[in-house]
């Protein structure tokens, strides 16, 4: 398609009028004089030195006494209001990972690195090379609390935020996924949260032109008032476009690109707005951020052009902690300093004060570090796309072998003068107390294997129908229909397939498969095992498409880290994932932690959500999940791969039919998962597979039903002899043993396929045939 990329009439210079105000360096912005007059004089470094003893509201800002003392020690004086705001944000759990850091180290230390890994943990997102010239980057992040407060905007900005992370690595965002968890399906508030969240994810992603290729929808009362809205984004980049966040090169210009800065999400620091802290501060400022997907779309296109023309030295998205985070992280990463003229930041509201500007979470902004001679080209590109670009500062050198300082002025007053690393890297780190929850032993003893089970054919039939119609297992098309899956024209598989598959190279057919999974009931029963089960499930979902899993990301949603029980769950889950990835030989490329998902003393179930990425050399070889119309009048043979054990604890069946949660979760054998993946990939490559679908929630019954419904093709299943006695048919149908999948093989190839399984030691059973067509019924005998 050479003409398409080469013929670009209407390049800049041809009078592209900015559609969004002015794109220019704004040394003297109109209105700034006015601001100085109307604003109370800011708290400056000078004043901080003069009023050393002034009391400050550090506790209200979430800083402990000892944390506040450390700030004073670092600065050798009391912090200014702006500095205090910055430390309170950067040293928050969300930004500093202070409770999780010591645990997360295992990911970097214990899981395999690989030559493929171009960027790993600590970057905005991990980057994995998948061909000589292409790399992919992917990451999942949470936007839980904002989505409970304001579901539409919370979820929308969740998508916006993760997309910018991916963009910051140099990649074009090419797909999103949305693992979602809500309270009980029939709770009135669930209707508010769910409809808003889904509309927000769709509203933002659809207008952005990024396809949604999968996700999760889970209902559980533990998420009442604490819904989990996680968002994953996948990006693709030519390897030479990989970007750094380091603000290298003293003299380089710091450019803010994108939306104006408003009072979004500054509720937390609003206490600083009043000059005296003893008066009751009205918490009137918004803690919600509103998204503008249109501006984000322009930001994407502008950044990609900037990468293409190699105009930036460093780039960082503005996310949770806004400018504070972007300025301090980019400088800290380079060991440089930075000089920022804060009054140059384009504002939505002229009355904003320095600490508000520094902590604003306004969306759709990026921070660029640009060599002076390339500044004009950057501004030109911004103008072409109609986004604001403003030079707000300059990189300054390290002095006397010491890292540089971040100095921020406001109309000539110095309001910030700090070592950037003290904000970005030297936050507090806690080894918080951990203790296994006292009730766990009792919960584990209360096994679901002892619950009454259906036995007669009639009871089994009823159970299948009841399970299929239950909130967690029922069809989710009414949600996924609200998402554009087609845009970009490379979506090969999307919901309800096991994994999303996206072609990333139209010439060679190279593609990637992605799945996100978590099972918090399993994690509640055993967080170590539950985390490994989530990993196994995501791995398996990728594998059944025929892809080779190569990398993992995660989003760890937990209650309060100050609760030793929660902290123990967290540590166990991390250990489980680190062990699991080490065993599977895949690196952890990044992740995200969300703590404090709890109301009062009751935390959500520990919910590690795992995303696994796989590679398909040619997406034409992908294996879909649904039964296809058979190749032969007798139907195509259906195999069940893997072993079925009596594993009902934590299962969907126990929950739906008995509201029961107890016992120990299914065993995990990651070696078996690898074997299953290898057999499926090999069989797919030689055309032995017509369909493959993994078994997870709801067991065999659910998977067979899903495979039937995909294309309206029926099936006749015959239980193996060893599962016909007593309630064993029930066990066969509803057990949630891991490491299993059902596959269909073209008639005539079943012997060859069985031989391969036997040879590689993968347990298999021929369990039935697809129906020759018309009836579309499922029969189990």
């Amino acid at each position: 398609m050479t003409t398409w990329s080469e013929t670009v009439p209407g390049e800049p210079g041809q009078s592209a009028t900015p559609t969004d105000g002015t794109a220019a360096i704004a040394p003297t912005q109109t209105g700034t004089e006015l601001q100085t007059m109307t604003n109370a004089a800011p708290d400056t470094v000078e004043r901080a030195l003069a009023t050393a003893d002034q009391s400050q509201p550090h506790l209200e800002l979430g800083l402990l006494d000892e944390e506040y003392d450390r700030i004073r020690e670092i600065l050798g004086r009391r912090p200014t209001h702006s500095e205090l705001a910055m430390y309170s944000i950067m040293w928050s759990e969300h930004c500093s990972y202070k409770s999780s850091k010591i645990h997360l180290r295992q990911f970097a230390e214990r899981t395999p690195s690989s030559d493929r890994l171009l960027a790993g943990i600590g970057e905005n997102a991990g980057v994995v090379q998948v061909s000589d010239h292409l790399a992919v980057t992917f990451k999942v992040e949470s936007h839980n609390h904002p989505s409970f407060i304001e579901p539409y905007q919370g979820a929308a900005t969740g998508i916006g935020g993760i997309v910018r992370d991916i963009l910051a690595m140099g990649a074009r965002p090419v797909a999103v996924m949305d693992p979602l968890r809500f309270g009980a399906a029939d709770h009135p508030d669930t209707a508010r949260v769910l409809s808003g969240v889904v509309a927000g994810i769709g509203g933002y992603g659809n207008s952005l032109g990024v396809p949604n290729i999968g996700g999760e929808v889970v209902f559980d009362p533990c998420y009442q008032n604490n819904p989990l809205v996680n968002a994953l984004c996948l990006g693709v980049l030519p390897v030479q476009h990989l970007q750094q966040k380091a603000a290298a090169g003293p003299g380089n210009i710091v450019v803010l690109l994108g939306a104006r800065t408003g009072r979004d999400g500054i509720g937390g620091v609003s206490i600083l707005a009043s000059a005296t802290f003893d008066e009751e501060t009205e918490q009137s400022l918004p803690s919600v951020q509103a998204g503008d997907p249109f501006t984000e779309k322009l930001l994407i296109e502008a950044c990609l052009e900037i990468y293409e023309a190699q105009l930036v030295v460093g780039i960082q998205d503005l996310g949770g902690a806004g400018l504070t985070c972007a300025l301090s992280e980019t400088a800290a990463a380079a060991g440089t300093g930075m000089r920022v003229w804060l009054e140059r930041v384009p504002l939505r509201e002229a009355s904003m004060e320095p600490h508000e500007i520094l902590s604003s979470e306004s969306q759709e902004r990026m921070l660029l570090v640009v060599a002076p001679e390339k500044l004009d080209a950057v501004l030109q590109t911004a103008r072409k796309w109609g986004v604001l670009a403003t030079a707000i500062g300059e990189v300054t050198p390290a002095v006397d072998g010491q890292d540089g300082r971040l100095v921020v002025t406001w109309h000539g007053h110095t309001v910030v003068d700090v070592p950037p690393g003290s904000l970005a890297d030297d936050g507090p780190v806690y080894a918080r107390p951990m203790r296994e929850p006292a009730d766990l032993i009792l919960v584990q003893a209360d096994r679901a294997e002892t619950l009454p089970r259906p036995a007669t054919p009639e009871q089994l039939r009823e159970t299948v129908l009841r399970m299929v119609a239950s909130p967690n297992l029922c069809d989710k098309t009414w949600i996924t229909e609200q998402y554009d899956r087609y845009v970009r024209g490379n979506t090969v598989l999307a919901a309800p397939e096991d994994a999303g598959v996206v072609r990333i190279d139209e010439r060679t057919g190279l593609g990637v498969a992605l799945s996100v999974d978590g099972n918090s009931r399993f994690a509640r029963l055993n967080p170590y095992q539950g985390a490994r089960l989530a990993l196994a499930e995501a791995y398996r979902n990728v594998a059944v498409t025929g892809a080779q899993p190569i990398a993992m990301t995660n989003c760890l949603n937990f209650g309060s880290p100050e609760d030793p029980g929660v902290m123990w769950q967290f540590a166990e889950a991390v250990r489980g994932l680190a062990d699991g990835c080490a065993e599977l030989g895949i690196p952890v490329t990044g992740g995200n932690v969300s703590f404090y998902n709890q109301t009062g003393p009751v935390a959500i179930h520990p919910t590690p959500v795992v995303g696994v990425l796989g590679v398909l050399d040619d997406v034409a070889q992908r294996v879909p999940m649904g039964f296809l119309p058979p190749t032969h009048p007798e139907g195509d043979p259906i195999f069940l791969l893997g072993e079925t054990r009596e594993e009902l604890s934590g299962s969907e069946w126990a929950w739906v039919t008995h509201e029961h949660l107890g016992g120990v979760p299914p065993q995990v054998d990651l070696g078996r998962e690898q074997l299953l993946a290898a057999v499926i990939a090999d069989a797919a490559r030689v055309g032995h597979l017509r369909s493959a679908h993994d078994l997870s929630d709801g067991g065999l019954a659910q998977s067979v039903v899903e495979s039937c419904l995909r294309h309206g093709v029926g099936a006749r299943i015959t239980l193996p002899d060893e599962f016909t006695a007593g309630t064993l048919p029930f066990v066969y149908l509803f057990s949630e043993s891991a490491g299993r999948a059902i596959v269909t093989v073209p008639r005539g190839q079943e012997k060859a396929f069985a031989a391969v399984c036997a040879e590689r030691g993968l347990p298999y059973a021929l369990i039935g045939v697809t129906d020759d067509g018309s009836s579309g019924t499922l029969e189990v005998t």
């Binding site: 559609t19 249109f294 939505r348």
Partner: protein, 93 residues
């Protein structure tokens, strides 16, 4: 028959991308002197029967707006009575 009008606007500090997009488009129409555009919703509610006390209708509309029409997290609203038709005649388009 009376009608109640509820105007719902984003709170001033909340980003209004629609208004911004409209404002940015105006120069193309040759209009250069607009300083701001905000886009909100106008909802017209008509009640059955003439007998109902207008104040009662207002109170009712207030409840509807609170629960259904506005999102208090990001929006403000105002309510007023409008004789059917009267509202819309100022400058008929």
């Amino acid at each position: 028959m009376a009608r109640v009008v509820v105007d719902v606007m984003l709170k001033p500090e909340i980003l209004d991308p629609q208004g911004q997009a409209v404002a940015n488009a105006l120069p193309r129409l040759g209009i250069e002197d607009v300083s701001s555009v905000r886009v909100g919703r106008r909802i017209e509610i008509e009640f059955n029967g003439d007998s109902v006390d207008p104040q009662e209708q207002l109170a009712r509309a207030q409840e509807i707006a609170d629960k259904l029409l506005a999102n208090p997290v990001i929006e403000d609203f105002t309510i007023r009575l409008a004789e059917a038709g009267s509202e819309r005649t100022d400058v008929p388009a």
